[in-house]
């Protein structure tokens, strides 16, 4: 039977037939079967449905659709029960099918499986109304991933069946073609496209109307239209999904173009790696010919146009139009210079127009709805929408269609849901290997052709790869250059030989052997490749390098000067991921292995030479190593912090201690005669003093308190870190010969000039003891305390003004320490924090412990005023409830005040909202401050301040941080000071050679992570004695057996 | 001028044919001026055994091919204010680089064992180990001036030395020939 459409009535008949398929009057089940869905098991789901429907004799209509875009939730299944809205179910597996069919047969839709519902769908060329209902299922546009999306290109994707031409006709398909042929005014269509300012969606953004006009005007016996479906960028797959989900929209756009430009031949150039897209297109073309929409005498209007399909062999360069044409001609895919442009001399020398897949999808909507409708969306210069593939380090990945000009942050945070695993998003790479990286500070950037180009990136075909702190930007640049290097056709020198050299230089960076000169060479080479290359591939290939070097120059410099890759990606620059993440860069695999070999003494020596305060950090470190441990890919990270606490605790206070201390003292290098002053006996100062002493220098520490330890002694509560532990560790430092001068404040009791005169180098490491100023009414009232003085007073056994009902303001470690201390003093405690739980900077275990001990935490509340009790005391604190607003620079949602006021009755308020460094003496000394004036400026690599021989580290240069970070700075300072004084790199001499197994364990222990034991909360809350206990020996041993030994490389 | 202290000049012969040194000796009457103005403190032309300190100008011929070459190049850099790569071997690694696509062990075996006419065996005593590749001097140390040519003409060398003695920067590009 012929389906040929030759007049309005046959067109309407096809339309009606399509509607019957789309809304069949029986339950309709459509499986999302794009390549992405099938990769997630959609095929098995389809067959499960088919079998069960058949076996149960259910008269359901089972079909398939393309992808609805939300890749993270695949496989998606659309369910339409008569009289109900269309419901999209998510993550359906074959095993779910029998139960699901029972529900559907009974007319129920299980809401827990639903992603969203659709009551009305705008296909642009038509609107389909489903019934209302299912109040418990959210509307599709209320799902954050879809909110703000505008589906013009993807109007049919995931809704209609791509293999049913009648369904396409039912939603307004081929209406535009019909209209164009009836109106028979090609110029009008071109004018419409020009007025719509439709720009090519392949990346360059040239106006489609102008291109069509050129082809229309060209005089030639043959003219060609080509659809470029050679989508080859890593991370981009929008064209594939467009074709797989809705092939007819592209065909219709091309047929219209054929009529308008006077061409009779169209060619689809589809990469061979897209077999499903090829299959769907071939099927769609067969159907279109069958229905008289393609081939001879289209729609009976005497217009002939046919399309053929060519599979590209997959060279990236064939996305470049001249190379694509050569490839079609059967030659090697190498570009040729323009002019002549394809519009004059293209395929076989005839005028040719090439458009990207997505451009064609915009044609029918513009013809049907008009240019004015189209320009309502998007930005003035770039109207309409663009489909992006949002991938990488975001929670929600998938295809998103957004109006052009939408700011980048909307993609990353609102649609993408922000970073995964609580990490911070660092950058977005747009345009794939031809694009650039845009740093997080620039996420307000509207995504359109011009703005991205200004930032050195491009829109490209719409790839959008989100990077977080675990991505090394040097490695990202290297990766993309490796890609373009291997895809270069080799014709022109800059691209062929230039990219090869660029890759060599980038490899030097990632291997840690680059020099400062390489930075300049890479920069000038990249510019040369960009400006000199023949085609777009070479011209854009340096973009990832140039933008990374512009926005992330520090990372490049770190690779050269510090031999560090913060992200821990470049393996040659790190021993192992744990070592790389450790602020002290402890050789963690070494002490684990030594302990595993039952060599406790050597393990202790390894630990204590890497970290002078192992028992303290073993208790209070933020353990960044946990986040990096590769073991967590199997179960949980190795409990490295507790193992080194175990090692330290097993030695301190035992007879083993003395001989080991002798061994440490034996590592001391001969006296150098250099005098070093250290200001501040906190963790940073102590570490610096320890290593300077080991290196043979004469070290004096100046401290304004009466004893050493800084925050360790005065701010950390005893139940976390007992004083005896600090005393043990200080003994070693004293015995190394470090002298302490207490009760001496630099700047008051001794001047910097005096220090300078008496020493060869000075290390400044005072901590953050000054409370941040808070903007809060009532802070003058009796009962308002600041966290640090409060904790200090408790540690010194002084009396405090603590009442019975305490409110603690803040979410950091100082807030939690204050709360737990107040609990131990018998108070009733409420913590007030203005953000969400996951945004709290405090160590998670500490927060949980506080809650277990009885502290209440009120989230999303910002203190507003402290209420006076009429006699100078406190009656309550009033807080404004907040909601979460936009994402701020820290990647967290900004708390936005509401009208709701929360009143918490209390008699004491502890403010723990942050501390700053007391910079008065620094200001008086004339040392240069960083912009903003709250921190000292130092050279990042040497830690030298603006004054010769004066170094600084710790909170002074970073703002309030934590113990391990401070110690890391002190250790680093000792290294750079020694190198400057001795003009030689003597650092490695401190360590003896440790011999231990360097074999990867064939059978790492399958035991789960051991946690340390704690007293139960009720008992804990009653004592200041230590309440967490070290691992038992067998547990510590088992932890060491869980280590996978990432420090061992195949090439070692 | 007479009272000016003499400049300390060193020359060095790495992996090359000594043709550049020959060319240096070919500068005719400039040698007389040089004798007045400079002292040659190291190199094949003099007896010194160790590279001295405080050299003003070091002229290096030859590619960096062996461990010894590398060490000498580093010593030269540490003790010289101005280092000149003289000739194509020092500038591009030239003929010595022709072995670079062959692994040193295979190369030595081919020459000293399968290619030997008598006493086959790779010499290991008193000979420095070969580097993986013969490299131009600037890939080993920082070079202040490149004077290409195989060898650079005496005129080019004369120009360079005269200009340096006068405290000017020589225009190497027009005086010497690349490759």
């Amino acid at each position: 039977m012929s389906h040929r459409i030759s007049d309005l009535s046959s067109f309407n008949a096809a339309h009606a037939a399509g509607l019957r398929k789309l809304m069949p009057g029986v339950p309709r089940i459509a499986i999302g079967m794009g390549t992405c869905g099938m990769g997630n098991g959609a095929e098995a789901v389809y067959h499960a449905f088919a079998d069960h429907i058949h076996n149960l004799g259910l008269g359901f209509h089972l079909t398939r659709t393309g992808c609805f875009g939300f890749c993270a939730e695949e496989p998606l299944v659309n369910v339409l029960l008569p009289g109900q809205p269309l419901v999209v179910l998510r993550r359906i597996q074959a095993s779910d099918v029998p139960a699901l069919l029972d529900h559907l047969a009974a007319g129920r839709i299980p809401a827990e499986l639903a992603l969203c519902k659709i009551e009305e769908w705008d296909h642009i060329t038509a609107t389909i109304k489903y019934a209302a209902g299912q109040p418990e299922i959210p509307h599709w546009y209320d799902v954050p991933f879809f909110t703000g999306q505008k589906k013009i290109v993807l109007r049919n994707c995931g809704i209609i069946s791509p293999i049913e031409i009648e369904e396409y006709i039912a939603v307004g398909g081929y209406q535009a073609l019909y209209k164009v042929l009836i109106d028979s005014s090609p110029e009008a269509v071109i004018e419409q496209l020009k007025a719509a300012k439709l720009r090519g969606r392949g990346g360059a953004g040239y106006q489609t109307g102008l291109k069509w006009e050129m082809l229309r005007k060209a005089q030639a016996e043959r003219k060609f239209l080509i659809s470029n479906a050679d989508e080859g960028d890593p991370g981009a797959y929008m064209n594939r999904n467009e074709i797989e989900g809705d092939p007819h929209s592209m065909l219709e756009g091309m047929i219209i173009a054929g009529y308008v430009t006077g061409s009779t031949e169209g060619i689809l150039y589809v990469r061979a790696e897209y077999p499903l897209a090829v299959h769907r297109l071939q099927h769609a073309m067969d159907q279109a010919r069958d229905y008289g929409l393609l081939g001879k005498n289209i729609l009976g209007r005497g217009f002939n146009f046919d399309i053929s399909l060519v599979e590209g062999a997959g060279a990236f360069v064939c996305g470049e139009e001249t190379a694509l044409i050569r490839s079609l001609e059967g030659r090697a895919g190498r570009p040729t210079p323009r002019p002549p442009y394809p519009a004059e001399k293209g395929l076989w020398g005839y005028p040719t127009n090439i458009n990207n897949v997505e451009t064609w999808y915009n044609v029918a909507p513009i013809v049907v709805k008009g240019a004015a409708w189209f320009t309502e969306t998007g930005s003035p210069k770039s109207p309409g929408t663009k489909v992006f593939s949002l991938v990488g380090k975001v929670q929600n990945t998938g295809l998103v269609e957004m109006p052009l000009g939408t700011p980048l942050k909307t993609f990353v945070y609102d649609i993408g849901g922000g970073a995964t695993h609580g990490k911070a998003v660092k950058a977005v790479q747009t345009g794939g290997p031809s694009g650039g990286t845009i740093p997080q500070e620039m996420f307000d950037t509207p995504v359109d052709y011009e703005t991205l180009a200004q930032l050195g990136s491009i829109m490209g075909s719409g790839g959008m790869v989100v990077m977080d702190e675990d991505n090394c930007m040097v490695d990202v640049a290297r990766y993309f250059v490796e890609f373009t290097h291997s895809e270069s056709c080799g014709k022109c020198t800059p691209c062929r030989a230039g990219l090869d050299q660029a890759l060599r230089i980038l490899n030097r960076f990632t291997h840690g052997v680059a020099t400062d000169g390489d930075l300049d060479t890479l920069d000038e080479l990249s510019r040369m490749i960009r400006d000199m290359s023949l085609c777009g591939l070479g011209q854009s290939a340096p973009n990832p390098v140039l933008t990374s070097m512009r926005h992330f120059r520090r990372e490049f410099e770190d690779h050269v000067r510090a031999h560090r890759c913060r992200a821990g990606v470049c393996e040659d620059l790190a021993l192992s991921p744990c070592e790389n993440s450790c602020p002290l860069h402890m050789n963690i695999p070494r002490f684990l292995q030594l302990l595993k070999e039952d060599r406790l003494e050597e393990a202790f020596l390894s630990v204590v030479l890497d970290n002078p305060l192992p028992a303290s950090t073993g208790r209070v470190c933020q353990h960044p190593c946990d986040n990096r441990c590769r073991r967590s890919a199997i179960d949980d990270a190795v409990n490295m912090r507790e193992v080194h606490r175990f090692i330290a605790d097993s030695i301190y206070g035992t007879p083993r201690y003395e001989p080991l201390i002798e061994q440490v003292l034996a590592r001391k290098l001969p006296p150098t005669g250099c005098k070093i002053a250290i200001v501040g006996a906190g963790p940073a100062g102590l570490s610096c003093a320890y290593y300077c002493a080991l290196l043979g220098h004469d070290v004096t520490v100046y401290e304004n308190n009466a004893e050493a330890g800084g925050m360790l002694r005065y701010a950390l509560p005893n139940y976390r870190l007992p004083i005896e532990v600090i005393e043990h560790e200080l003994e070693l430092i004293r015995r190394l010969g470090v002298s302490f001068i207490f009760n001496t404040t630099v700047g008051r009791d001794i001047s910097l000039n005096e220090l300078d005169a008496a020493h060869d180098a000075v290390f400044l490491s005072i901590g953050t003891w000054k409370e941040s100023w808070v903007y809060l009414a009532g802070t003058e009232l009796r009962g308002v305390l600041h966290a640090l003085p409060f904790l200090e007073a408790v540690n010194k056994d002084e009396t405090t003004q603590l009442g019975r009902k305490v409110a603690v303001i803040g979410g950091g470690n100082a807030a939690i320490d204050s709360a737990r201390t107040a609990l131990r003093l018998g108070a009733d405690v409420t913590i007030v924090y203005r953000r969400e739980r996951k945004d709290m900077p405090a160590i998670r275990e500490e927060t949980e412990a506080a809650e277990a001990e009885g502290a209440r935490i009120v989230f999303l509340a910002a203190p507003h005023r402290i209420v006076d009790d009429g006699s100078g005391g406190i009656q309550a604190i009033e807080c404004v409830k907040t909601t979460l607003g936009e994402f701020d620079r820290s990647g967290r949602r900004r708390p936005v005040p509401t009208d709701e006021i929360l009143r918490i009755a209390c008699d004491t308020v502890i403010l723990a909202v942050g501390e700053t460094v007391d910079l008065d003496f620094v200001k008086a000394s004339g040392l240069r401050l960083k912009e903003g004036g709250t921190m000292l400026e130092v050279d990042r690599h040497t830690l030298l301040t603006s004054r010769p021989n004066f170094y600084a580290g710790g909170d002074l240069i970073t703002g309030a941080s934590n113990v391990s970070n401070a110690m890391g700075w002190g250790k680093k300072a000792a290294r750079t000071i020694d190198q400057a004084l001795m003009d030689e790199f003597r650092w490695p001499r401190i360590w003896p050679e440790f011999k231990h197994s360097m074999t990867v364990p064939a059978h790492p222990s399958t035991a789960r992570r051991h946690h340390n034991r704690e007293l139960d909360p009720a008992k804990r809350a009653a004592t200041f004695a230590e309440t967490t206990f070290p691992l038992a020996p067998v547990e510590a041993m088992e932890e060491t057996c869980r280590c996978l030994r990432c420090d061992i490389r195949a090439d070692h | 001028m007479k009272n000016q202290p003499k400049a300390r000049l060193a020359t060095a012969w790495l992996d090359g044919c000594s043709g550049c040194h020959m060319s240096l000796l070919d500068v005719d009457e400039l040698l007389l001026t040089l004798a007045d103005r400079v002292t040659i403190v190291f190199g094949p032309l003099v007896d010194a055994q160790h590279f001295p300190e405080n050299v003003d100008v070091a002229i290096v011929e030859g590619a960096v091919s062996s461990q010894d070459d590398l060490r000498l190049a580093q010593t030269i850099r540490e003790n010289s204010k101005f280092v000149i790569a003289l000739g194509d071997c020092a500038v591009t690694s030239n003929v010595p680089s022709m072995r670079n696509s062959i692994a040193p062990t295979r190369l030595l075996e081919r020459i000293y064992i399968s290619g030997a006419t008598a006493q086959p065996g790779v010499p290991t005593q008193n000979v420095p180990a070969l580097l993986r590749a013969a490299i131009p001097l600037h890939e080993a140390i920082k070079v202040d001036l490149h004077v290409p040519g195989c060898p650079p003409s005496a005129a080019a060398i004369a120009h360079v030395l005269t200009e340096l003695l006068e405290g000017r920067k020589p225009d190497v590009a027009s005086a010497a020939k690349f490759g």
Binding site: A315, A332, R334, T336, P337, P339, P340, K345, H485, E487, S488, C489, G490, K491, C492, T493, P494, R496, A497, G498, L499, D500, Q501, R504, T521, E524, L525, M528, D531, M532, S533, L534 | D88, V91, T92, S93, N94, V95, S97, M98, N100, S101, I102, A133, I135, P136, H138, E139, V143, H146, V147, P148, C150, V172, A173, S174, A176, K177, F178, G179
Partner: protein, 241 residues
């Protein structure tokens, strides 16, 4: 339409013929623009990029060998940036293959070397790659030494466009590109080579040479091929590519 047009080259007003490329216009007015892949009488490919120039009002560099000269155009053929870029291009070529000039048959008669000299190259800032490349000696009269090839494809074009034998092509891609004889045969086994030697004469370096010459002895007779190419009427800027 008059056949003569006026363009400005480096500030100087000169006459050119309509249809000439910028490169040709400059050459006919004795203005120097370097170019390794361009060869009079052969089609243009714009591959070596040495001949790029700045054109007023165009914000990117244009290859002068493929860009038609237009009346009133203002062209800059030398600037600090152009010089730097061209020098980098030459250095990339030197670092890419093994151009050991001292032992090359074309030493002192080499276009690559001459441009390096003229553009002031005194050393190569990039790491030498030292690739292992083949020297095909199988042809009775000629040699192709891939160590010295700059991939200008003059040999490919002269063989296709003038001799009509289609012996040469480019195999591989990217940094692995190389000139190949027929379907990657040894040249001596070629079925279509006419032994005319035009490829040898147009080669700018010592990559293609006649046998029997020692270092510095190979002098190419480019003028003969130039004349032949021009007589054959293949001088057609929009011609076969």
């Amino acid at each position: 339409m008059p056949n003569r047009i006026s363009i400005r080259i480096d500030g100087e007003l000169v006459q050119a013929e309509r249809g000439q490329t910028i490169f040709e216009a400059a050459q006919s007015n004795n203005k120097f623009i370097p170019g390794l892949c361009q060869f009079k009488g052969l089609s243009t490919v714009g591959a070596c990029r040495l001949c790029v120039v700045e054109v007023q009002g165009v914000n990117r560099l244009l290859p002068s060998c493929t860009t038609p000269a237009q009346d009133g155009m203002a062209v800059i053929t030398k600037s600090a940036r152009l010089n730097d870029y061209r020098r980098q291009s030459l250095e990339l070529l030197f670092a890419e293959k093994n151009h050991v000039c001292a032992v090359c048959v074309s030493n002192n008669h080499c276009e690559l070397q001459a441009y390096a000299q003229r553009l002031g190259v005194t050393n190569v800032r990039y790491a030498y790659r030292y690739p292992k490349l083949h020297v095909d000696m199988s042809h009775p009269r000629f040699v192709i030494d891939h160590n010295r090839c700059v991939l200008c494809t003059r040999c490919v074009r002269v063989c296709n466009e003038v001799e009509g034998a289609y012996v040469w092509g480019v195999a591989g891609r990217g940094i692995g590109s190389r000139i190949a004889c027929e379907m990657d045969r040894a040249w001596g086994n070629s079925a279509s080579c006419t032994n005319c030697g035009k490829c040898v004469q147009v080669c700018p370096t010592g990559a293609l040479a006649e046998k029997g010459f020692a270092a510095e002895e190979m002098v190419k007779r480019q003028d003969l091929v130039e004349r032949l190419a021009t007589i054959r009427g293949t001088m057609n800027p929009g011609g076969p590519r």
